[in-house]
């Protein structure tokens, strides 16, 4: 697979026809970097990701590897950017291999079918994601974690230079979520792909992303390293949450909720 490309967003707004759901986003992700887009529910994280993927109309400039996306036809764009939605539609009866093969779509002639090379690429992806045992199983019969891996497989079969993953750990327990993020990190290291994810888990965000963009009500409010963005002040203000920032033994910040105790014995009220 090819090296990851730098992704530059300059004053990007994305919307569904009405007023933009997210506006004024400028951020740069170096090739092979990992940007996590965080923010409270409804902040516009998923919308921004869809805008970059070209699934929803975006205004402003998005440049990948020096090439403005607006100038690319849909198929070319699909070879540069791979997009995995938060919840994938699972068609009836499709096996994991069939599903992964659909990822070859932007590489096929408009009406051509998959060839030997496409099947080899799909088989390779299936093996890399440890899906070989499940290759002929129907998607519907898979567990949540297996399904997320299959979805990642479909995106990887696209051989994109940038991975756009919308909440890849949705519905996964702590172990499966960790395994999936480790996998993405490994792919990033091996292929040099650039990764942009939305994430609601700020603990994982601090441990995996090398830069973080915090959105609130459709606007960027903080951007930088996890250390700079995931502060008590930022989290308290934009999530309307009472939190403390602790440290792991490795030194990563850990944002944890701190229960509000309105009635305390030592306040002298009781």
């Amino acid at each position: 697979m090819s090296r990851g490309d730098t992704v530059e967003l300059r004053d990007v707004s994305v919307g569904y026809g009405g007023p933009p759901a997210v506006a004024g986003v400028s951020v740069e992700v170096p090739g092979g970097g990992w940007l996590a887009v965080v923010g409270p529910n409804g902040a516009g994280k998923s919308t921004l990701l869809k805008g970059i993927a070209g699934v929803v109309r975006a205004e402003g400039s998005i440049v990948v590897g020096g090439q403005p996306l607006a100038a690319l036809p849909a198929r070319e764009r699909a070879r540069v950017l791979g997009y995995a939605p938060q919840v994938a539609v699972v068609p009836d009866g499709l096996t994991v291999t069939d599903y992964v093969l659909l990822g070859r779509t932007p590489h096929l002639g408009r009406l051509a079918k998959e060839g030997r090379r496409d099947r080899a690429i799909a088989a390779d992806v299936v093996e890399r994601l440890d899906l070989t045992r499940l290759a002929h199983r129907e998607l519907r019969t898979l567990s949540g974690g297996e399904r997320q891996r299959a979805l990642l497989g479909r995106v990887l079969a696209q051989q994109p230079r940038v991975l756009l993953l919308d909440e890849p750990t949705t519905g996964l327990d702590i172990g499966h979520a960790q395994a999936l993020l480790d996998l993405v990190d490994r792919l990033r290291a091996e292929d040099g792909a650039t990764v942009i994810t939305t994430l609601h888990d700020l603990v994982f965000t601090a441990q995996y992303a090398d830069r973080v963009l915090l959105l609130d009500q459709g606007a960027p409010v903080a951007s930088g390293t996890p250390e700079q963005v995931l502060t008590e002040a930022n989290t308290t203000r934009h999530y309307s949450a009472a939190v403390e920032v602790l440290r792991t033994s490795a030194g990563d910040p850990v944002v944890v909720p701190a229960r509000r105790r309105s009635l305390r014995a030592d306040d002298g009220i009781i």
Binding site: A74, R79, P91, L102, T105
Partner: protein
């Protein structure tokens, strides 16, 4: 394990063999009581230049009446079944059928108008063709062209069908004498067919069938949902427009040739899914062949059971189709469990 999303040569050959067998069977056996051995003798005589056991009149029954009718049944069945498979794919709804977007209601109104104004039976197929396309076109315009999405398109189809059917009923009531003729057309039938009708229907069905088979893989991509399809470089709106255009053209040609024949568009694709596989690259081409086989068999029943009278073809497909469909649904439910 056999790939259930791609067509294997064995399955394709089996389907083709079934088609050839049904055409042969339906040509050999008919209401005229010629005896199938003698028809075989006639075919043999034509091939080898020998002496036929059939009289000239009997030979004409085989070549000018039976064979075109069998082929027309095949074309109409193929058109309805492949359109049904396409509609189900586009709407991601197993109950979608080719009449969903106003094709049936439009054709019904047009045919009724022709019958009422006594423009002559030769005009009915032309009117039905125009009416079917007109109904779908109206739905398309009403839904705000593709941008409205499939749900809006579906609702527009319901509205158009209800309106056109109401107008059709009104026109029919104004002229009570023609009710029987309108009704007969509605129930479907191929009894006015000859080579002309076969040749008129063939180009539409052929063009649509090729277009739909070519689009089959794109329908698989579309089954992932619009956003995911778009992220793979496919434009969902364009694919939908092309597929619905081809399917509607085939449906209009079928309605023009055979009236409103129900159930083929739903039953055949489902049976194919149950027996052969799920992807559109299996379902679309096999529905084409399976639809032809099914309607040839149904028409065989329609013209022989009460011979010399004929059962309406729509009645036969429903009588055979409904219980069969129930059976398929039962099977599916058990498979899902």
């Amino acid at each position: 394990m056999a790939p259930r999303t791609r067509l294997t040569p064995g399955v394709l050959l089996a389907a083709l063999a079934l088609l050839v067998a049904s055409v042969a069977g339906a040509t050999l056996i008919g209401a005229a009581g010629l005896g199938w051995q003698r028809v075989v003798g006639e075919v043999w005589a034509q091939l080898t230049g020998g002496v036929s056991p059939l009289s000239a009149r009997e030979a004409a029954i085989v070549w000018q009446v039976r064979l075109p009718r069998v082929l027309l049944a095949g074309l109409v069945g193929a058109a309805l079944a492949v359109s049904g498979a396409a509609y189900q794919g586009v709407f991601r709804n197993p109950l979608a059928d080719p009449y969903l977007l106003g094709a049936a209601a439009g054709a019904g109104l047009a045919a009724t108008l022709v019958v009422v104004t006594s423009a002559g039976p030769a005009v009915v197929p032309v009117a039905a063709f125009a009416g079917a396309l007109g109904g779908v076109g109206l739905t398309w315009v009403l839904s705000g062209v593709a941008g409205g999405g499939t749900a809006v398109l579906l609702l527009a189809g319901v509205a158009v069908a209800a309106f056109l059917t109401a107008v059709q009923t009104f026109v029919q009531q104004l002229d009570a004498d023609t009710i029987a003729r309108v009704y007969t057309w509605m129930l479907g039938g191929l009894n006015t067919s000859g080579w002309d009708q076969v040749l008129r229907t063939l180009p539409y069905v052929a063009v649509s069938a090729v277009a739909l088979c070519v689009c089959a893989r794109l329908l698989d991509v579309l089954s992932l949902g619009d956003e995911e399809a778009a992220s793979l470089g496919v434009r969902p709106g364009r694919v939908r427009l092309l597929v619905l255009l081809a399917a509607s053209l085939a449906t209009a040609a079928a309605v023009s040739a055979g009236g409103l024949i129900g159930f083929v568009g739903i039953v055949v694709p489902h049976v194919v899914r149950l027996l052969a596989g799920v992807g559109h690259r299996v379902v679309v081409p096999l529905s084409l062949l399976g639809g032809a086989v099914f309607l040839i068999a149904a028409d065989q029943v329609a013209r022989t059971v009460l011979a010399p009278a004929e059962l309406p073809l729509g009645v036969v497909t429903a009588v055979v189709g409904a219980p069969f469909f129930a059976l398929v649904l039962r099977q599916r439910r058990e498979r899902v469990r």
